[in-house]
Symmetry: C2
Subunit: 653 residues, 2 copies
């Protein structure tokens, strides 16, 4: 199996914007002031445009927009030939460029008597970027050593952080090296840099219409009544599933991605109008629908228990309401998979665990998130290629039985594979007869040694894995292949791992698919995202078996002297309470407070959380009593609301 | 709950192409031969371009490309002012138009002595479209009554079918009504028509890199060895899950969509190169990777059993291999959900069943496909809005508890909702006390009657549903609300439905979420997609517990005289066998043989299939013996391959 480390991946966030400088005809080959090879950047610019548009992030263009008698023209004693005269063909953006409808355009150097090389000079650019809440600019365009250079300098002075799009700018280079020097100078002033491929890793994003219809029927109700006061919703687990004594919180980052980019497209609104389920006036109001609220949440990788709010949303009622469907969708699945994976990590300590789940996940997207969640829980990597590439997770994979079968003999399939992938040879032994295959491996290893190729491992995928692993280990060891590792796969889960580990099977790694990606023994969670407070009023639900605790809550975690988890107390926010508060601010006014944490960091947090769990929570079976307590104030608030309200509110008025 | 019928939705398929006529500067306002209001179509054209590009379908432009002395110019005695002179600014495509890099452009009317109003005249357009295998053209552009008109006439004559993009063309209208008459005339000749919104319903498409890495490591092996002979893979169920006596085949159409549009983007290839897992030469070869093979499959909605191939792929080895991951991914999940839904349909006959599963599905996409699969199985509709809108499934939904809680009283929440949605009132009764809520409903109904608003139904979501339904029915009936329907939801599945139906609870409809969308009692299938034949050689696998039957197979279904299913025989293709062959050709050379079937038609097929199942297969529990037999020839081929091969092939060479 092959694994490979992460390459530089940049995740765009809501404060990012794209600023393209002067991609105008006159600066392109054929134009009056052509920048050499400037046409090369056009397809690259289009790709950047596509990425920012898909992420619904601000896109801004600047253009030179000179009067015919501009002082920079040679006729007026200036340096340059006539170029970019306002309204002329030369001043137009290149027809090869796909300027999005939503893009803003700022025209500069419009005053005949003033030179202006920076896009900020004499324009409303700064003000507009601030209105759009842009704090970080990705800047490319023409020319590196003039207008890009001056715009970047101003941007940095004005407090923006800047990333240079190195593959999407070209210099005039009047003196050879001008462009290089400009880039050096911009970097020295604090600009970062990137290439297109560093940005091509944006996670899948569900469409705004991936939602239960009732969210929108309710929103129309709120719209009609102008009910837009602030609400608080909390996500929590109602009850742990059978054989779970803890869960691992996971899925927060995809939720924040969703909230940051949530908006209805023109086509979404057209589809809604066409279907006629809602009033047109209300549908029209969705055009500007954004999530502008606050989120407090536990860090991903935190061990959680039932009854604890792990994510809290504070926002105008309709926003809180609308996002219910996707909050539950993202969190439930990733908690399920991270938990299942953590149980395997606890069971097969020091073994290499790899996610093979994509094919049996309940959709391509589910497979993607299963790779993420299992890696966070401690898996070594995944077979799911797009998840691995996009998220910097090591990717593993070599061959299926069909590869062997398509060849005229098994050993020939092994041999050919080895030559195609000399650095990544894990051979699959159980297509016909695993013992004979193991003998072939020994034979082949000698042959390959002469080609300086080493077999890394073998894989068994069926039958009695413990017994086969022992037999194969013996054959390999006798053949001098002590370093060849044994991987197994096929219908594995934490219970199977426990059996194999108890049998002391000489297995180095496990490929785990179906039962991980479907969380097969507990494919859903009793979890909820519920209204706790509206317009300052604490709220609870009294439905039989589904009643909730009212008010805005925090979870405080306490540890024993030796550092293991002793008690969680759920209390009202503001109530004095010992312990570490687990819910932390992660989003304010619809903007993340910090960029997404690297998965490796979340993974470390999970390791630490697992290490702090008392022994009784580490068993695979049973449901030990959870260490969760509710504060006296919380219980008394519940009693207060519980009693008089329903009668009065259920019937009156 | 609201339901609404389908609107006109056009699904693009692989033989479709976009043909845009002359969207050039001279034909736009400001140009020398401006078509009135032609600028209005540019943003619309951009949207069409986006849709066809996303679907990876051919995009073709024509342009007028006149010599300066063209005979159509007034100076030469022609009708028109000078326009679209080759190379001039006026001949360029509008800069507002996003011409994709991949688009083909055909220049016409280049001969000074010949007029040419059709894009086909004197160009290679026809030949190129045929090479691209385009059979159906979506045509828009300028002007409706000249070049569009003449191009469409030629296209129809040449055997293309044509859809006019009515919102993306404008007429010159020299005589008022010319445009209208041209459209009439084109329609009379057989052209169809559409608007942008009719096309805005394309299903989600997994990225090419949503795949197990090993598919690509194997493909590199095949590439290195030039192993590209034809292979046959079959998808089948190894074993029915516990408590399943049949499954419903589902997911074929999404598989065909995937196959038709499968291709690697430039960015995909860059990401692969960057990660360094595969050789660059091989990665480069993926640029033109397409599925060009054949698919035979059972119709969706067919009842299937274990051991029966339900889908067969015949294609060059690497293509067959690569698609394994997504074929299993799509089919497994949709079979699971369609089967679970069919069991509910069989249990709660004549009741309204609605899919509420999105929030607990294992991803937004899974929720989308759960809506599709459950509708195919007979559900009345779904709460999942995007699935409903895109696929023409009725959508249902009204309110959650939070809506009630956010109001100052329950009855006020009911009242306000009723006024916001007078045609769609299902009131949720169990937020506080369902009996009091039912009394409120009676009271409110009288009040609303004066506003001519009728309450359609109520919903109960917790507690003892049968008992509550009986109590509420009584209250409603006594209050004169015999027509108000009772819906229930909350932790339902076929077993719960059976209990409720046995108790004769007065329930009219069920909302079913979690256990449907996760197929909770059987969240995965033991299914496989396996190599059966390579380069004409039948192949089977001998792994313990996972051995396969070799050869290319067909399934023949036989019925009793009364029309119920009696026996399925799996035989080799070509072997004489009684019964109806279930595998039918659906794709040849990578192209569908017919457009996707409407879901309503698939649904009818499912009803018929369920009606033909003998009684013993209709029980919710147990696993009765399946009616599947294997032909003598198939068994003897297995024995033949079974015996001598593994020894010889496992070690020799």
């Amino acid at each position: 199996m092959t694994s490979s480390g992460p390459s530089k991946r940049i995740r765009l966030v809501s404060e990012d914007g794209l600023l393209l400088i002067h991609p105008q005809n006159d600066f392109l080959p054929g134009g009056s002031l052509a920048v050499p090879r400037a046409n090369e950047i056009l397809p690259i610019l289009n790709k950047y445009l596509e990425i920012f548009e898909q992420m619904a992030l601000p896109i801004v263009f600047t253009r030179d927009w000179h009067p015919p008698d501009h002082c920079s023209f040679q006729e007026q004693g200036g340096t340059w030939p006539v170029h970019c005269v306002a309204g002329s063909e030369g001043a137009r953006f290149s027809p090869m460029l796909r300027v999005p409808e939503s893009a803003l355009v700022f025209s500069g150097a419009t005053n005949p008597d003033r030179e202006a090389y920076s896009g900020f000079e004499g324009t409303d650019l700064d003000q507009s970027l601030k209105m759009l809440k842009v704090r970080h600019l990705y800047i490319g365009g023409l020319a590196t050593d003039y207008c890009v250079f001056n715009t970047v300098k101003d941007a940095l002075k004005l407090g923006y952080s800047v990333t240079l799009l190195l593959d999407a700018m070209r210099p005039v280079d009047i003196k050879p090296g001008d462009g290089k020097r400009a880039i050096e100078s911009m970097k020295n002033r604090g600009a970062k840099s990137c290439f297109l491929q560093n940005l091509a890793f944006q996670p899948p994003r569900p469409p705004a219409l991936a939602v239960d219809l009732y969210q929108l029927t309710m929103l129309q109700g709120y719209f009609d009544q102008k009910m837009e006061e602030s609400a608080v919703f909390e996500f929590f687990i109602r009850r742990l599933p059978k054989n779970r004594s803890f869960l691992i919180f996971c899925g927060l980052d995809p939720v924040l991605d969703y909230l940051e980019t949530l908006r209805f497209s023109h086509q979404d609104l057209e589809k809604l109008k066409q279907r006629g389920l809602l009033k047109n006036e209300f549908i029209h109001s969705l055009k500007t629908f954004r999530f502008t609220g606050d989120v407090d949440a536990m860090p991903e990788g935190t061990a959680i228990f039932s009854g604890e709010p792990c994510l809290r949303v504070t926002a105008p009622l309709s926003q809180c309401q609308f996002i219910e469907t996707m909050i539950i969708n993202f969190l439930q699945y990733q908690i399920l998979v991270a938990t299942k994976a953590a149980r395997m990590i606890l069971t097969a300590k020091n073994k290499i665990l790899i996610d093979f789940g994509l094919r049996r996940a309940h959709s391509p997207e589910a497979g993607y998130y299963a790779a993420r969640a299992s890696y966070i829980a401690g898996f070594a990597g995944t077979a799911t290629l797009n998840a691995g590439l996009d998220q910097g997770i090591p990717v593993y994979g070599t061959m299926a039985h069909s590869f062997i079968q398509a060849h005229d003999s098994e050993i020939n399939a092994f041999r050919q594979f080895a030559r195609s992938h000399p650095g990544n040879i894990i051979l699959l032994l159980d297509t016909y007869d695993y013992k004979k295959a193991a003998i072939s491996v020994v034979k082949l290893a000698k042959e390959l040694k002469e080609e300086n190729i080493t077999i890394k491992g073998i894989r068994l995928d069926s039958g009695n894995l413990a017994q086969q692993a022992k037999t194969v280990r013996k054959i390999l060891d006798q053949g001098g292949l002590k370093d060849v590792r044994i991987f197994v796969s096929g219908d594995l889960d934490e219970y199977a791992l426990e059996r194999l580990e108890l049998q002391k099977a000489p297995i180095d790694g496990y490929g785990i698919g179906t039962r991980l990606a479907t969380a097969s023994d507990s494919p859903y969670l009793e979890c909820a995202y519920k209204l706790q407070n509206y317009a300052g009023r604490p709220i609870c639900k009294l439905s039989p078996g589904k009643s909730t605790l009212p008010g805005i809550k925090q979870v405080y975690r306490r540890y024993t002297k030796t550092g293991s988890l002793s008690k969680d107390e759920v209390a009202l926010v503001g109530e004095p309470c010992d312990g570490n508060p687990l819910l932390q601010p992660v989003m304010r006014d619809g903007k993340r407070l910090h960029p997404p944490f690297p998965l490796a960091q979340i993974r470390t947090h999970t390791f630490e959380q697992l290490a702090k769990l008392p022994a009784k929570f580490l068993k695979l079976k049973g449901n030990p009593k959870e260490p969760v307590y509710f504060s006296a104030k919380l219980k008394s608030l519940k009693t207060q609301i519980n009693d008089p309200r329903p009668k009065e509110r259920g019937i009156e008025r």
